[in-house]
Point group: C2
Chain length 427, copies 2
């Protein structure tokens, strides 16, 4: 990348300003650029009034090298992006037969009639090139002018996203406006805090002048990204630093890259030809759902039981009534019995379980709201771990999901010569 | 509200621009203002560099009546919001003993030592008032100047949100910058498209001059909000229009307000003293999870079975092997048998089920990827419904969740004199 370029993103849409929809375009475009060594300079969410588009576009065009807009390319009178921007740039709109043909083709393919107002979408600013949109009627547009670039993208995420990765990214690459490949290496960790990581690796990182390290903590995990900004020839050095971090982290190392804990665990199970089932009380289906979100889940996931009431714990998971009476349903023995029961009833090699008080009501003096036991059954035996978290009901469910996944992950990577009659305990 | 004011929101934070975090402040503030009759004018996400803050703040202050900033009030050198804005407004920063006392109090309460750099947080622009922050060290700030208002809020959502609702909203109300109460009435519908609704209600709406109607479609649902902008004395008229819509919508009427389908179904079950269980194949725990996200779920939710493999469908839900052989596991009879099985094994009055191909692999010629059967068991019998959707795996799971909830909802509100031996079929 020759020199850092300023990228500005204008997201149009009243539904964003009304708080009805999350700004997924910011997350997507920001992430895509980050992976190519660029930090998005600013994001402007505005309504689709012509004056607003004009005012903000001028602000951005003056300051930026690349301006990306999303939305406002549809067939209705409310869709004014193209008109407003052509105006601001002193461009004439020309009718493009090839756009019309593409729109007509699309209507033919989906077996619907083109409405007359779709003709509006076949106009483009005279110097704009078309970015094809096989998934919708509005094509994207790419316009180079005075050394700057304007990219107009349609609003629907399923149209915008492939257009961005398949057509915009390669063009930006060719112009040397972004890095040609992911320019950083991400290390994912679990079970160590951010400041502990900083201390652990300070001397290693200091030994490599020019190294940039960015931390990001989320739900008990800490990721850090290593890069040598604007130095593409130090990839091998980056790789060896990352490998050294991995060795030092031991079982607290999760992965290089972007895989989630559920993906990592699925991969480990698949490599071992093993299957998993779940027995959930307080997480209430969240763990099963995390696995079934993954493509090809049925290879490793046998199924799950959400045993929200004690009857279900006894009847469907075979947890002995006496165990619940002696220890209450929120206890280590019950968590372990639930996991054993799931593995048995669903014929799986491994099983994970959860039982606890997600709140806001419930809890006891010994185990107040936020107390969760996660359980594990593996071919080597059973184990469990007690946690106590603050936060809302949904936050506690998510923490419990991560904790259960991590308990299983640590067992899956445990050395074969670990004591066979007891599971490795987690720190 | 005397006259519509322009509200601008500046959200600071590189993690937003890098696509690492969603812009929840936009969603929250936008929604809060919308409930008070104001559409946020623009949202600007920028980094926390002083120049950037200065440049964008000036742009917003020139155009807006109220500028709200989030973030950059912390104790580190990266936190520059206060300094940059004071500078832009020609304000001096003064040391405020009362802020320091509040910070010291807070550290005492949580049993930690105040770090010397927290002293920085005790400075405020000379004309700013303090918005107290019982949940963090950074106070918010409120500054009135030249008839305009600047509100500075801390970045953590759990600190920002109560500060906004408890301190900012009442001040804006007092100035008559926002409506004193929710000024619209929201009608939620399911099973009717947006354009069909428009046609159905056009003449009703036209009969009330000044009525504003805003539609919002999401996942098979369409909401519309009715309001008389700037006319607070027509609340009763609004109410009667909404009631007329409800009557005309019949069972396609979901609710007034903001309740989700899961909340509506939970309420209906609770009113009837009835319980629910789930049998999920393609939704894989998503339905159970939606119920267990709700506080007090255990009153109505007995539990669920995620029967991802056929063995589980047979062994845990008692689906006859022959039924699967004759119809395949993705079929109406299997969906109904799954629901019956769940109700029986989990001793619930009602049960809902899902089986289908969420993709991207799988499917048959007759039932390609995207085909889902949802099943229902009720004290009156069993029913099922076939759906076919486009979209990714997660999108299809979400649609199936909504469809299953709606099948149950329609049964729960069916008139008692509906034919007892068969369930009401949905349109």
């Amino acid at each position: 990348m020759s020199q850092t370029k300023k990228f500005m993103l204008i997201t149009l849409g009243e539904e964003l300003l009304l708080g009805l929809t999350r700004n997924g375009h910011l997350t997507f475009v920001g992430d895509q650029l980050r992976q190519r060594g660029v930090t998005l300079h600013g994001n402007y969410t505005i309504s689709d009034e012509s004056d607003e588009i004009d005012d903000h576009f001028k602000f951005c065009w003056e300051r930026g090298d690349v301006v990306i807009t999303t939305g406002g390319l549809g067939p209705t009178v409310d869709d004014r992006t193209k008109e407003a921007l052509a105006d601001a740039l002193g461009e004439t709109l020309v009718f493009d037969e090839s756009i019309l043909n593409a729109i007509q083709d699309r209507f033919r393919r989906i077996g619907k009639r083109m409405s007359p107002n779709n003709r509006k979408q076949a106009y483009r600013p005279e110097s704009a090139e078309v970015l094809e949109n096989p998934l919708g009627t509005a094509p994207g547009l790419w316009l180079q002018k005075s050394g700057k670039i304007l990219v107009m993208l349609p609003g629907p995420p399923n149209e915008l996203q492939p257009m961005f990765t398949e057509q915009v990214i390669p063009r930006l690459e060719k112009l040397d406006f972004i890095e040609t490949a992911e320019n950083y290496l991400q290390v994912r960790t679990i079970g160590v805090g951010e400041s502990a990581l900083e201390m652990q690796f300070q001397s290693l990182f200091d030994a490599h002048p020019g190294l940039a390290v960015a931390y990001c903590a989320h739900q008990g995990q800490v990721d850090f990204r290593l890069s040598f900004p604007n130095e593409n020839d130090r990839q091998q050095e980056l790789q060896s630093i990352a490998e050294e971090c991995k060795r030092a982290l031991g079982e607290n190392f999760l992965s290089f890259g972007h895989d989630t804990t559920a993906e990592i665990v699925s991969k480990l199970l698949r490599e071992r030809g093993a299957t998993l089932s779940t027995a959930e009380s307080c997480t209430g289906g969240l763990i099963a759902n995390a696995f079934t979100d993954l493509q090809g889940a049925s290879d490793v996931f046998s199924g799950g039981i959400v045993s929200y009431c004690n009857e279900a714990k006894m009847e469907l998971l075979g947890v002995p009534e006496k165990l619940i009476q002696d220890h209450t349903e929120v206890s280590a023995p019950v968590a372990e019995a639930m996991a054993r029961g799931a593995a048995e009833r669903l014929h799986s090699d491994y099983a994970i379980s959860s039982t606890g008080y997600a709140g806001p009501d419930g809890g006891t003096e010994e185990n107040p709201v936020g107390t969760i036991f996660v359980g594990l059954h593996s071919p080597r035996g059973s184990a469990s771990k007690r946690y106590s978290w603050n936060g809302g009901r949904l936050g506690i469910k998510k923490r419990a999901l991560q904790a259960a996944l991590d308990l299983l992950r640590r067992e899956l990577i445990a050395p074969a010569n670990a004591p066979a009659d007891q599971l490795q305990s987690t720190p």
